[in-house]
Amino acid sequence: MLAFVVNRLLQAVGVMLVVALVAFVISNYIGDPINNMVGQDATHEDRARMRTELGLDDPAPVQFGRFIAEGLRGNFGISYQLKRPVSTLIAERLPATLELVLVAAVIALAGGVVGGVYTGLRRNAMSSRAIMTVSLVGVSLPTFVIGILLIYGFAVLPKSCVEGMHLFGRMLLTCAEVGAIALPSFGRGDTVELGSWTSGLLTADGWRHLVLPGITLSLFNLTLILRLVRSEMLEVLRTDYIKFARARGLSNRAVNFGHALKNTLVPVITVAGIQIGSLIAFSTITETVFQWPGMGLLFIQSVQFADVPIMTAYLVMAALIFVIINFTVDVLYAAIDPRLRSDRAGTARA
């Protein structure tokens, strides 16, 4: 087990080094740092002096070493566009993204497991078929379209309510009722400062602002987990130990949840763990649709303006989060399932 953990750890460090190298190449050879710092009328001598002072004339390996050392200290330079230290910008934006990802992960897990168990147990019921069809459509609708539709349905439509409005040919709701389900579609709402962490999870307004982006971000993973749980349930329910449990006269509840669901959870935990990384990446889309002031929105803006320091810092941060998640999932999985340990550690790195 120790060999396995060390092996995985070395691999994680290797990935981070490659990412750091890519980030280094981007920041040194794409954005000319001098050009971005001085104005048009700086003389040639001034530029040369700054190059030497900043160490840009040193050999590339020395510069790479310095880049890593600065990165480890959390120093990624100053944004071209916003003229502020990148580390401060990211520290300000990180809580918004992490809270959004957390809420989306909880929605995806809860909805996915409940829906998966339901459709797995009643595989031929009309309601199950309806859920599966909707989930197929959900996979085909890109995240941003779902976000737009939710904004329209829950933020725009309620505001434009006209008394006596007819929806689909019959009157569904009065304007007061429509107004009550209206949700904000822009920003984080009221936040509370907890030291350097601004949280929207402590105010009612913050929660209301989380609903639409949270659902939007979670939907893809919700359908993924739902389909996974369903197929695992169908598989497990066919096994002999489930038949035996029924033969012993155990209640449906004990069989379905105590025996069947429990045995479906290992792959679900793995997929869910890995998907948290993708939630962080895909939050860039959701944050843009809902103008959510997180890291993803910062990153998209930095790509649009070729703001290299922010781009590289975001990449390194995202890579670090992915690598930590993958490492944790690998180790957890090996701890749960001993078969993986022996044959992977032995043959994988030939």
Binding site: L136, S140, Y152, T284, A306, L315, N326
Partner: protein, 313 residues
């Protein structure tokens, strides 16, 4: 008529095959294939059946901007309404879908060419070459392809801003996005092909070819690759759907196709600005088109995966 006979013979061969049988008996797959075929045909015929060329600025008339579609109280001269520039949405959707399909196919072909070549080299060469190439694939698979495409786009923008590339971004948006997507999707192909090469290279027919002096590249292309093409085609089909969605997403985020040459994602982005005033059609019609296209391609991909999997027969 030699041509007629060979077509008839080819058809007999196709219609008698297992794959055609599994296609014919799956009603939803046939439906998906028909929908896909209609969309493809409409996109090829776009210049013939469109009302106007939406990429020609001379056709934009602000006087008819924001006209609603027919079913929303608009007139038949613009069946799906117009956008904020007075562009006919029906024509824009046809051309936009064509653009999405071009980007999708081109990037899938690029990723496939790259991935298959790397996979063949990696599997056949083995040793250090194999280790380096496969670790590179591992590192890249750590990140969602969407993020990598986004970063590549940002790098190109940086190069343009530094005047390393003497282009305007809008002018080279199409090749940039194809390149970004192609470079993001290669690892899956490389891994699959490498695995197949490792299995096939020890088989007798490969040894026989080697003994009679066939060159390694010929063995790889003519002998091993055809045996690895099944899974590659399955990945490519599903990849096409992913590429179309990713292109739409990048365009929606404002880093893909420009507004002067809108793809489906760009159209949805244009519509997004007018959503709060309740003008839904600019967003909804391209959104439905995108969803239908992706759903149909996904269904075809699912079917192909099951049809080529001998365990499920």
């Amino acid at each position: 008529m030699a041509g007629g006979i060979s077509i008839a013979r080819a058809w007999r061969k196709v219609s008698g095959s297992d794959i055609y049988y599994s296609f014919r008996t799956s009603r939803i797959t046939v439906a998906a294939a028909i929908v896909t075929a209609i969309i493809f045909a409409a996109c090829f015929a776009a210049p013939l059946i469109a009302i106007q060329d939406p990429y020609d600025p001379a056709n934009l008339d602000l006087g008819v901007a924001m006209r609603p579609p027919v079913f929303w109280g608009g007139g038949w001269d613009f069946p799906l309404g117009t956008d904020d520039q007075g562009r006919d949405m029906y024509s824009a959707i046809l051309y936009g879908t064509r653009l999405s399909l071009i980007v999708g196919f081109a990037s899938v072909l690029l990723a496939m060419a790259l991935g298959v070549t790397i996979g063949l080299v990696s599997g056949y060469a083995g040793g250090a070459t194999d280790a380096v190439l496969m670790r590179a694939a591992d590192v890249q698979l750590t990140f969602p392809a969407f993020l990598i495409a986004l970063t590549l786009d940002g790098i190109v923008r940086g190069l343009i801003a530094q005047k390393v590339l003497p282009f305007d971004h809008d002018a080279i948006a199409l090749p940039v996005i194809v390149l970004s997507l192609g470079l993001s999707f290669w690892p899956q192909y490389a891994r699959t092909v490498r695995g197949a090469v490792l299995v096939e290279r020890t088989k007798d027919y490969v040894n026989a070819a080697r003994i009679i002096g066939v060159r390694p590249w010929r063995i790889l292309w003519r002998h091993i690759l055809p045996n690895a093409m099944g899974p590659v085609l399955v990945i490519a089909t599903i990849n096409l759907a992913v590429a179309i969605i990713t292109e739409a997403t990048l365009s929606f985020l404002g880093v893909g196709m420009p507004k002067t040459q809108p793809s489906l994602g760009t159209l949805i982005q244009i519509g997004n600005d007018y959503l709060s005033s309740g003008d839904l059609w600019i967003t909804v019609s391209p959104g439905i088109m995108l969803a239908v296209l992706v759903l149909a391609v996904n269904l075809l991909g699912d079917w192909l995966r099951d049809a080529l999997n001998p365990k499920l027969r």
